[in-house]
């Protein structure tokens, strides 16, 4: 038994090392020497359900970016989208798929890899803050649900209630159609996102416009699909800020021409 534990532990260690290696290796290839900064487009969240199976994560990404910008009330125009940060965030959601999103200690341990990767690029800011969390994509209203791939009523195969078991064929036919779980609306997702930002204690700095750049990546976690699990998306946000904000060097005085 002890041996088994040891083997599994070493496997885990190796696995986490492998993830770091993947991250570092791809960072070398992806990140360009000079950072590109772009304006963030406005994408307001609607009250319609967000079908992530159809829409993927791109729209959600754009919405969250836009919402982040709208938070920055003091200097709304200052927050921009950084190509380096976007690449890094995207790389993070692809490379790390485990418990790093829930475990703050584990996440902090990864910050140096972000810093090293960030050093590959020359950008206008030099402070970065990385945040990660998961957001639920399907609403079960806090109730019991089950997964049944044979029913075929919903693409998600998730239904509310208790899964009927031990029924005969005729009983099965008499059963009413199961109620599939609802998707969260876009606004709900944004609310979840904002709640997470609040939890990370960066809203104050974001509101006062201290951050200059942002990069967001939303990746739907495929491991939560078609299982008796609520489908989630991994979210990594990287904020970049200028350390030397508002500082000006004096221009060398030039003598007036006679």
């Amino acid at each position: 038994m002890k041996k088994m534990i040891l083997i599994s532990l070493s496997f885990l260690c190796h696995f986490s090392d492998a993830q770091v290696r993947v991250f570092n290796q791809h960072a070398k290839e992806l990140i360009e020497a000079k950072d590109t900064v772009m304006e963030i487009e406005e994408n307001s969240a609607s009250n319609e359900e967000y079908d992530f199976l159809v829409n993927g994560s791109d729209r959600l990404n754009a919405i969250l970016l836009s919402e982040t910008k709208s938070v920055s009330r003091a200097r709304p125009d200052e927050l921009k989208k950084s190509q380096t940060l976007m690449s890094l965030a995207s790389l993070a959601t692809t490379a790390w798929k485990g418990t790093q999103y829930a475990d703050a200690k584990k996440w902090r341990a990864l910050s140096k890899h972000f810093q090293r990767a960030f050093n590959r690029s020359t950008s206008k800011f030099n402070y970065t803050k990385e945040i990660s969390f998961r957001i639920k994509l399907v609403n079960n209203h806090g109730k019991r649900f089950y997964c049944d791939k044979k029913v075929g009523v919903s693409d998600l195969n998730l239904y509310s209630g208790k899964k009927p078991t031990g029924l005969t064929k005729s009983e099965k036919e008499e059963q009413p159609d199961p109620v599939p779980l609802d998707y969260f609306t876009e606004q709900d997702l944004v609310n979840q996102f904002m709640r997470q930002l609040n939890r990370q204690k960066i809203m104050r700095d974001l509101k006062s416009g201290r951050y200059a750049c942002v990069g967001i990546s939303v990746e739907i976690d495929e491991r939560t699909l078609n299982k008796k699990r609520i489908p989630t998306a991994r979210v990594v946000i990287i904020f970049g800020a200028r350390r030397l904000r508002d500082l000006r060097l004096k221009e060398p005085s030039t003598e007036d021409a006679p």
Partner: protein, 854 residues
């Protein structure tokens, strides 16, 4: 057809040969025949007052030798010698080394410059623009100050500053490729500071120093970590040298040149502790006693030494190889520790006394090959007059001649003067050059020789009048040397000592010294230096975060600008901007850390440790003289990239790192800290600027006044120096106390590197056999020496320009071009024939010999 092609080829080759026939020329006339083909032009000892105007025609010139002339200035702006690599202006007394403007554009490829024996007191900073310079010789001058700009000579390998009056060598820090350095005989030079400058220079191999009298052990502790292989201690007294030298793992050879060993017992004990040293050489000195107790070395060499107790040599360990040049190490049946019978099998190498000459040479009875030309002048004995020859000037007062009976002669006088100013001509005319004294046969190295005779109208020889002496002013061929004066006694065929020279022309020289001193900046004259604070850069290569750098100030943190009392020449600055860097102790590298960066940082760390270790125990070592591993440290905020650029100079290369202060916390806290940090940065810059303004004001006011006083004192000191005229003469000046041959020479005591024996039969370049005679003449151009030897004992010097020739018939000279070693140990010479005739002057034959490329 094939014959035609052959003929054409021969014609072509002969024509091309004629074009390059004078690539190595010794006269401007010969060189002008084909200026484009001249690559080496040797115009030494021609009495030139200025550079020939035709010099620009030699477009392919690589080497120009202007030594031993009277050139005072060269206008490099008007010259265009782009291929010139070697420039020798040595022994041009009074050459203006400040007028070098345009030298870098005139000859951008200069690799070797020789300014030795020019009596200069400094050199122009323009010299530093010759970026290709590898060898610089400034020895035997009056140099007290050298410009800092010499540190820009990045490719300099050999630097000779021996026998000057240097006090500071601020440029030495920046010469990272230096391999050989001679700083001997600079009395006021602080060896400790020199050691500090050489501390981290891995390329340095050979160092020549004179021990400091102030230091109790002659050499400072810092020498223990210098990466030198050969240490030469020259001209000084030593008791027991610093025992910490034994820790120097690279040191293999110690040379003692003219050193007085005060305590042989301590010296021997010290040497035995030097376990790394495998060779010790004694040169020109009395070898200390207790040689038999030396056990650590493998080779002991004696060059022109006196050994007080030869019995000791027999007790020296047999495994120690002994080599003796011009040193008698024989005692009874023993040579060193080997019996004479076993000499062939022993490990003792002995070469005989200086140079083995033939008997005719020793007796001064050599038969001349040609006669020297004479210059005849007719003068009136009763009126003062002047006689001028090519190299001499005779000031003849009235009543300067006596008849054989001792009466004053007052008629017409025929003055006959012969000059012997060239070693090849001396060899051809068989000039007597051996001084026999105390059982030794000393060979003259000529500074100048002439033969003055006077005859009355009847042809009778006249004598000099001691009451009214003829004054002679003769060109000095070797101004750096201090010759003695000799007259030749024809009855004994030997030389006799003569009167020393008289002095003149002090005022002119003094004014020139003052002119030169006025061109040197106040900081250089006074030795003023602004020393930055000692700052350590620490790089902790941890696994956790290898990006962290930290700085610490060793001493003097927040010390205001001040003078260091014990070293008045330094002005110790706190450098406020640097101290700001150190105050923000921990920084983080803000870029990807490459292997190159890691190596640099590790090296800086190691070097800093070495410096601290070697300077930690130095008594009274203020941190202002501690060598700076990193220099010119600067930190500049880079607002655009949101970081700071850290730059410093390490080993002559500027290194730049983008860094950020290693703060933690939220962005709000960091930005607030950065703001405060930036404020203090601006404040530090402001303070640093103020400090710089104080220094500049100090330089302009106090220092300039002080410099003026120093300049005047210095000029006065040089002018009133007792040996000034002797050491700085342009001419040899003396009174003729007797007529005949007069010689101004010193002794040539360079021991040959080897002897070879010529076979009796040689071959010319066409393969025809020639007979090699007994009498062979060897001319050493650099030393103005000729020596006649037997053909079976021909001395060979490495690294000396030599011409070997012999007479094969009354009308033909054979010049040795090379030789082939035969199985019987003899060498068969290959010669080039040169035809001569009775009508040829020695100068004409000399030209033929040089054209043949001896």
């Amino acid at each position: 057809m094939s014959k035609l092609i052959l003929l054409l080829a021969v014609a072509f080759s002969s024509s091309s040969f004629s074009q390059v026939s004078c690539s190595h020329c010794t006269s401007i006339v010969d060189a002008l025949e084909n200026p484009a083909g001249v690559t080496h032009l040797d115009l030494h000892a021609l009495g030139l007052g200025q550079l020939p105007k035709e010099i620009n025609q030699f477009v392919n010139l690589k080497s120009l030798n202007l030594s031993e002339n009277f050139i005072e200035e060269i206008n490099f702006d008007t010259l265009q010698l782009s291929g010139l690599e070697v420039l020798d202006i040595s022994k041009n007394p009074g050459f203006n080394t400040f007028a070098l403007e345009g030298i870098e554009t005139c000859s951008p490829n200069l690799k070797n410059i020789n300014f030795s024996n020019t009596n200069c007191i400094s050199v122009s900073p323009t010299l530093a623009k010759c970026k290709e310079l590898k060898i610089l010789n400034l020895s035997n001058n009056w140099i007290q100050f050298l410009p800092k700009q010499l540190g820009d000579l990045d490719k300099l390998i050999t630097l000779n500053l021996g026998n000057n009056q240097l006090k500071l060598l601020p440029f030495l820090d920046d010469l990272w490729k230096l391999e050989e350095l001679d700083i001997s005989e600079n009395e006021d030079l602080h060896l400790k500071e020199v050691g500090a400058s050489l501390l981290l220079k891995e390329s340095l191999k050979s160092l020549i120093v004179t021990p400091e009298e102030k230091l109790s052990k002659g050499l400072p502790n810092v020498f223990e970590v210098l990466a030198i292989e050969k240490l030469t201690i020259k001209n000084g007294s030593i008791d027991a040298l610093n025992s910490r030298l034994s820790r120097n793992v690279t040191l293999k050879t110690i040379v003692l040149d003219n050193v007085n060993v005060l305590n042989p017992k301590r010296f021997t004990a010290w040497l035995n502790r030097m376990t790394n040293v495998s060779r010790i050489e004694f040169k020109n000195m009395v070898v200390p006693k207790l040689l038999d107790e030396i056990v650590s070395v493998n080779v002991m060499q004696f060059d022109y030494c006196m050994i007080s107790d030869k019995d000791e040599l027999r007790k020296v360990k047999p495994r120690i190889t002994m080599i003796a040049h011009a040193t008698d190490i024989s005692q009874g049946n023993y040579v060193g520790n080997a019996k004479i019978l076993d000499l062939a099998e022993s490990n003792v190498v002995v070469t005989p006394d200086v140079v083995v000459m033939n008997d005719d040479m020793i007796d001064n009875k050599l038969v001349p090959i040609v006669k020297q030309r004479e210059q005849v002048s007719i003068i009136q004995a009763d009126t003062p007059c002047h006689v001028r020859t090519e190299n001499s000037f005779f000031e003849i007062p009235s009543e300067a001649f006596l008849t054989q009976s001792g009466q004053i002669y007052e008629g017409e006088v025929k003055v006959v003067v012969k000059e012997y100013m060239d070693p090849i001509e001396n060899a051809l005319t068989s000039t007597p050059m051996v001084y026999r004294t105390n059982g030794r046969n000393e060979l003259f190295s000529s500074s100048g020789m002439l033969d003055f005779r006077a005859y009355d109208d009847q042809g009778n020889e006249l004598k000099p009048n001691p009451e009214s002496t003829i004054q002679v002013q003769m060109n000095d061929l070797q101004p750096s040397q201090s010759p003695d004066f000799y007259t030749f006694n024809e009855s004994t065929n030997n030389w006799e000592s003569e009167l020393p020279p008289v002095s003149s022309r002090l005022a002119r020289r003094k004014s020139r010294v003052l002119d030169s001193l006025n061109k040197i900046s106040a900081a250089e004259v006074t030795g003023f230096q602004q020393v930055p604070i000692f700052l350590n850069l620490k790089y902790k290569r941890s696994r956790r975060d290898p990006y962290i750098l930290s700085f610490t100030v060793e001493k003097g943190r927040r010390t205001p600008i001040r003078k260091v009392p014990s070293f008045t020449r330094f002005l110790y600055s706190s450098n406020a901007d640097q101290s700001w860097v150190a105050r923000r102790n921990s920084w983080k590298i803000d870029t990807t850390l490459t292997d190159e960066m890691k190596n640099v940082l590790s090296k800086v760390k190691k070097d800093t440790r070495r410096v601290k270790r070697s300077w930690g125990d130095e008594p009274n070592s203020g941190n202002f003289v501690v060598p700076r591993v990193i220099k010119n440290l600067e930190m500049e905020p880079n607002i655009e990239n949101d970081n700071y650029i850290l730059s410093f100079v390490y080993q002559d290369t500027v290194r730049r790192f983008p860094v950020v202060p290693n703060f933690g916390g939220s962005i709000r806290r960091i930005q607030a800290k950065e703001k405060a940090n930036f404020k203090s940065f601006l404040l530090a810059q402001k303070t640093a600027k103020k400090e710089q303004a104080v220094i500049e004001r100090y330089e302009k006011t106090v220092l300039e006044k002080y410099a003026q006083v120093v300049r005047e004192r210095r000029a006065q000191a040089i002018a009133t120096f007792p040996d000034f005229e002797t050491a700085n003469r342009e001419y040899l000046r003396f009174g003729l106390s007797s007529f005949g041959l007069v010689n101004c020479d010193y002794f040539f005591r360079n021991v040959p590197d080897n002897y070879i024996a010529f076979d009796t039969v040689g071959t010319d370049v066409n393969g025809r056999a020639i007979n090699v005679p007994y009498d062979v003449r060897n001319v050493y151009l650099d030393d103005n020496v000729f020596v006649a030897t037997s053909s079976d004992k021909v001395p060979i010097y490495k690294n000396r320009r030599a011409i070997i020739f012999f007479l094969i018939s009354p009308v033909e000279i054979a010049i040795v071009k090379g030789w082939e070693r035969l199985k019987n140990g003899f060498c068969q010479p290959t010669v080039e024939r040169v035809s001569i005739s009775e009508s040829d002057s020695p100068a004409a034959i000399k030209r033929k010999i040089l054209a043949a490329g001896g």
